[in-house]
């Protein structure tokens, strides 16, 4: 086949290049610029090399936030993934109640993040909130504004309430794709409920579970709005996660250099962990295929 060679066609890509440059590359490069330079304003920059990065890596404040962040993501994944699978397994498979459950499950996913924060902020208040007031009435000492443990519990319950549906819906879709014949065969083989889950349902759900774990990890690792609205990072620094700390540093203190170095490392950590998750899970998958 004769193809006309005309390199001017590359110009057609230009609009996309310009768009991507302005929406991603230029802002990112600005951050890179701040991360390697120091400035006293008036657009004058002084080369600082890896200075900000070294500061951030040594900063106890960042260590604290990172520790809290890792703990938070770990707790969220351990609760939401099994719970989501459990919910999906127990949802009606067809008929009116299946549609009803699907709509019900999708509702929390449709609420904007700051509204979720506000809902729980009010819900948990001891003076007027249904949850907080009821707990107080039961004689339980609960106050998320000045007790670190209560604040953590509230944030975790809020996130579970908000996002378990996502895991459940993905798993439900995976389960629905399993042909009936598998269950019939399992019955003939006298497989136990656990065996059916372990050897039929779980392998068929592996693909969607990978997506669910990745999404939940990335989202929980970057969480900002909900805890910010609920606790503002307090009491003290006890619920100051990485992104909250980053915003404090960049917008609150106007420490643009450290904040830029911080955000670059933050970005790389998420990228790295997601890559590790993905690689480990797909390799496991492939090994089983042999």
């Amino acid at each position: 086949m004769d193809k006309t060679q005309n390199n001017r066609a590359w110009f057609l890509v230009l609009p996309v290049l310009v768009l991507v440059a302005f929406s991603a590359v230029v802002p990112l490069m600005t951050v890179v610029n701040y991360a390697f330079n120091d400035t006293f304003g008036q657009n004058r920059f002084f080369w600082n090399g890896l200075g900000w990065f070294q500061d951030m890596l040594a900063s106890e404040r960042v260590h604290g936030a990172l520790g809290r962040q890792v703990l938070f993501s770990a707790i969220i994944l351990t609760i939401e993934v099994p719970l989501g699978i459990f919910v999906a397994l127990n949802m009606p498979k067809n008929g009116f109640w299946s549609s009803f459950c699907l709509v019900l499950m999708a509702l929390p996913l449709l609420i904007p993040f700051n509204v979720v924060g506000t809902i729980w902020q009010i819900f948990g208040r001891v003076d007027i909130g249904l949850l907080g007031h009821s707990l107080a009435a039961l004689g339980i000492d609960y106050n998320y504004t000045n007790d670190a443990l209560d604040a953590w519990l509230t944030i975790i319950v809020m996130d579970v309430w908000h996002w378990t549906s996502l895991v459940a819906l993905l798993c439900y879709a995976g389960l629905q794709s399993i042909p009936q014949a598998y269950y019939q065969a399992a019955r003939i083989d006298q497989a136990s409920r656990w065996s059916i889950f372990r050897y039929i349902e779980l392998p068929k759900m592996a693909g969607v579970l990978l997506i669910a774990v990745l999404l939940r990890f990335m989202d929980s690792f970057m969480i900002y709005t909900e805890p910010f609205v609920l606790t503002g990072g307090g009491p003290g620094n006890s619920t100051t996660f990485l992104s909250i700390d980053l915003v404090k540093m960049a917008v609150g203190q106007f420490d643009l250099g450290p904040a830029a170095a911080f955000s670059l490392m933050y970005f790389l950590v998420i990228l790295l962990v997601s890559w590790v998750f993905y690689t480990v899970m797909t390799t496991l998958d492939r090994q089983e295929g042999k």
């Binding site: 042909p179 014949a181 598998y182 019939q184 065969a185 019955r187 003939i188 083989d189 006298q190 497989a191 136990s192 065996s195 050897y199 039929i200 392998p203 068929k204 089983e288 295929g289 042999k290």
Partner: protein
């Protein structure tokens, strides 16, 4: 292993069936022998899968009973029936190795490890999969997976019957033949009762000792491939089995003569006068084009299918097929068709009637 008795069995998917048309499976009484190879043959939607599901326990019949040996299993769940089933699409446990797949039913029944190991080795040899025992089932081809599901069924020694639900649907044509042959061998060697559901007459006729032809929820004939070919009990069996199917011509019957629109046809027996629609049926294999004997026929076209030729002809407005042997010349002088009187069947309202010789 056990004899399977279907007593007074019928099934309707409606809760309150009013007429016979509401029944997906019309009343039937059959005894299937222990160790027989049966094929359920019929077009899509004729009720063959319903019947299979009743036997396997997935569907509870609206009326009648199912007996395995002397035990009434009508109400028994699938797990208690000790049956095995091979499905249309291969059902294997993907994450397990072939060995684990074969051992699974035994392990679930709490057999001891040494027994499981020897039994799995035995089955693997039977289905010819010793070389791939330690591979994951996921990466295997469709025919290998079907062999595994068959093996998983046979690994239990107490299995009453092995059910096949169109098991060759997803198999490549050249493997179909091999698998069918292997099935037949296994049946001969181990004598399990096998029930094979299919809409493919070649599969049914090569696999089964007895073929059960279902039409519109009714068993229209149960017989050997030979019987189905020579004496179809119902016109449906006539044209569903055979390639091409049986020729049917409307005719009125007078003793040992059938009067068709094109002329008289001699019969080998005497028949009492019949009410309703009467037809004669003749296999294309037993018809012959002649230069003047028989009914006048006009040749429409000739199809060469290799081993023989199929002559499509018209007799008084009805289309018929005639099979001509390889060596037989086919020319313009062939103006009539002659039927072998001994091979002509007579049908009244679609059911075959017997004549007195």
């Amino acid at each position: 292993m056990a004899r399977i008795t279907l007593s007074n069995l019928a099934h309707s998917y409606y809760p309150n069936p009013k007429s016979e048309a509401d029944f997906a499976l019309k009343e039937m009484d059959h005894v299937w022998d222990d160790g027989g190879a049966y094929a359920l043959l019929g077009a899509s939607g004729c009720g063959k899968t319903t019947l299979l599901n009743i036997i396997s326990g997935l569907v509870h019949p609206s009326q009648g009973r199912v007996l395995f040996g002397d035990r009434d299993v009508t109400g028994a769940p699938t797990a208690e029936r000790n049956i095995a089933q091979v499905f249309q699409f291969p059902v294997v446990y993907d994450t397990m190795t072939v060995r684990e797949n074969l051992a699974f039913p035994l392990r679930n029944r709490g057999m001891d490890a040494a027994y499981i190991q020897s039994r799995v080795a035995q089955i693997a040899a039977m289905i010819g999969m010793e070389a791939t025992l330690d591979r994951k089932a996921r990466g295997l081809t469709a025919d290998a997976k079907q062999k595994i599901s068959l093996g998983r069924g046979m690994v239990r020694q107490d299995v009453n019957a092995i059910l096949f639900d169109e098991p060759l649907t997803v198999i490549d044509p050249h493997m179909k033949w091999e698998l069918r042959t292997q099935l037949k061998l296994l049946h001969r060697e181990f004598g399990h009762t096998m029930i094979y559901v299919t809409h493919d007459q070649t599969e049914a006729l090569t696999f089964a000792d007895k073929v059960v032809v279902l039409h519109d929820g009714r068993v229209v004939q149960m017989g050997t491939p030979q019987e189905l070919f020579e004496t179809p009990e119902h016109t449906f069996v006539g044209y569903f089995i055979g390639s091409p199917g049986m020729n049917l011509l409307d005719a009125t019957i007078h003793g040992n003569m059938a009067q068709t629109a094109a002329g008289p046809v001699a019969l080998a027996a005497h028949y009492a006068p019949q009410n309703g629609r009467t037809q004669i049926g003749i296999r294309p294999e037993y018809a012959e084009m002649t230069a003047g004997i028989g009914l006048p026929a006009r040749v429409l076209r000739i199809e060469d299918v290799g081993r023989h030729r199929i002559i499509r002809a018209e007799v008084a407005g009805s289309q018929i097929s005639v099979i001509a042997g390889e060596g037989q010349p086919v020319g313009a002088d062939l103006t009539h068709v002659r039927f072998d009187p001994a091979r002509v069947n007579v049908y009244a309202n679609d059911w075959r009637i017997k004549g007195a010789v």
